[in-house]
């Protein structure tokens, strides 16, 4: 589903590469944790998959397409198959929960009847049934993240990218979010999650890829957060 071949990303000329000759494969339906200290290249990895950045060297494949040669007008189509969730939720404060999720479908031109059936289904799946009319500031952090996940998943993407989705949440709430991501993963969606949360990684026992100053230092199936354990 995602394939990196010797990928290097340098932001400014002469600077240390944010990613340094990284090669890896993520299969369809996998759940992968991306761990490492701040600045180790986790976010750059996700940005490359979303084609928000282009690789400086090497090749990135997503869903069989090489992103380096993908023309920019095809990028939106690529992104329709990728959902993204962030630490800061990125919800629209003046829209309701329903409108926030519906927004993702409206802007890609989905018909009204499709939106009216899909959005409630998705909200129910993430556990927000009955809160459609609330606005983001009326929700807890965990609920806001569920809205963000609903928005990322409402178009049934093949890949879900999560950039520290539990970074702002307490452990109990985080656990709820992880259960939700696990459920989404079980529907066949590939999930790549960048995180600092060692407890979660240790509990889930999924594949762990560790980055350190741009290089991949570990790729372990059913791994834990710290490599020394």
């Amino acid at each position: 589903m995602i394939r990196f071949e010797n990928v290097t990303k340098v932001y400014a000329r002469g600077a240390r590469p944010a990613l340094d000759r990284v090669s890896l494969d993520v299969e369809r339906g996998e759940f992968v944790f991306l761990v490492g200290a701040s600045g180790s290249g986790k976010s750059t990895f996700l940005r490359l998959v979303l084609r928000e950045e282009r690789a400086s060297a090497g090749r990135v494949f997503v869903a069989g397409k090489e992103l380096g040669t993908l023309s920019s007008w095809k990028v939106p189509t690529l992104r329709r198959h990728i959902g993204a969730v962030f630490q800061d939720f990125r919800l629209l404060p003046n829209k309701t929960v329903f409108e926030n999720v519906a927004f993702a479908l409206q802007v890609i031109g989905k018909p009204r009847h499709h939106i009216l059936t899909t959005v409630p289904d998705t909200l129910e799946m993430v556990g927000l049934a009955g809160k459609e009319k609330r606005r983001p500031h009326e929700l807890s952090g965990g609920e806001q993240q569920r809205v963000a996940i609903a928005r990322a998943f409402v178009n049934r993407p093949n890949i879900l990218l999560c950039d520290e989705p539990t970074g702002n949440l307490d452990p109990t709430t985080s656990l709820g979010i992880m259960r939700l991501l696990d459920r989404i993963n079980r529907t066949g969606t590939t999930v790549v999650m960048a995180t600092h949360d060692d407890e979660i990684v240790d509990q889930m026992r999924k594949r762990v890829i560790e980055l350190s100053t741009g290089s991949m230092v570990r790729d372990q199936s059913r791994g834990v957060y710290g490599s020394d354990r």
Binding site: V75, R79, H81, A84, V107, I108, G109, N155
Partner: protein, 304 residues
Amino acid sequence: MRLQFILSEIGLGLRRNLSMTISVILVTFVSLTFVGAAALLQTQIGKMKDDWYDKVEVSVFLCPQNSTAPTCASGEVTDDQKADIQAALASPEVKPFVEKVYTETKEQAYDAFQKQFKDQFWASAATVDDMNSSYRIKLTDPEKYSVVSEVISGRAGVEEVKDQQRLFDRLFSVLNNATLLAGGLALVMLLAAVLLITTTIRLSALSRKRETGIMRLVGASTVFIQLPFMLEGAIAATIGALLAVGGLWVGVTYLVDDWLGESAGWIPYVSTSDVLTIAPVLIGVAILLAAISSLVTLSRYTKV
């Protein structure tokens, strides 16, 4: 769904930046009014030329009895002198430019004079002998006045050669300068309009950065993201253009039709239908302005 969504986005953007939207409308209004005024002035000149250049002629005034002009030293023009002038007009250098020559005797001139100024005191004081007999020459090309003038003026028996077109040319040069002035002001205002629309679109894009960020993320197409901003600029500019058309229409109706038409009605003036003719041009310019501004701004602020 799509159209409805885009329309609501546009409404949102226009309301959120209301003061900027109004300033865009006003600046395009003023700048396009100047553009329109320049266009109307040129139309006016064209109309006057069409109407008058057919009528203008070169008048060769022949010596009357008591003239102080040096060429009239021998007194009133003689038949020999007349024959000489007519021969000159028929000469191969001049003939191709002359369409027709009318002769006006001093009696005819006196009658016309009495008719034109019948109520004035000086009309009764004038006598037939005070009048010039003259040749009225119609030129094939009114611009070739100087050729005729050179050959005829200074001949014995000719008091003065007058070209009516000269008078009009002075008027036209005044109108042309006014056009230049209006055009220059229009250019400055258009530049201000482009900069203002650019700023407005930029502000609008920045204030909706969150929305556009999410749109990019979920795979909305570039056109879909940028269209509301473009249309916002275009709508504001078009409203400005419509105001300019309205302003010109009012100006022509009250200033030209009612006021000038009353006080100097013998001139063919621009009419409101001329305003309607230039209206599409003004609206086109407005949309072009908005399009240029959008292209300059959006590629930078709503990048994929």
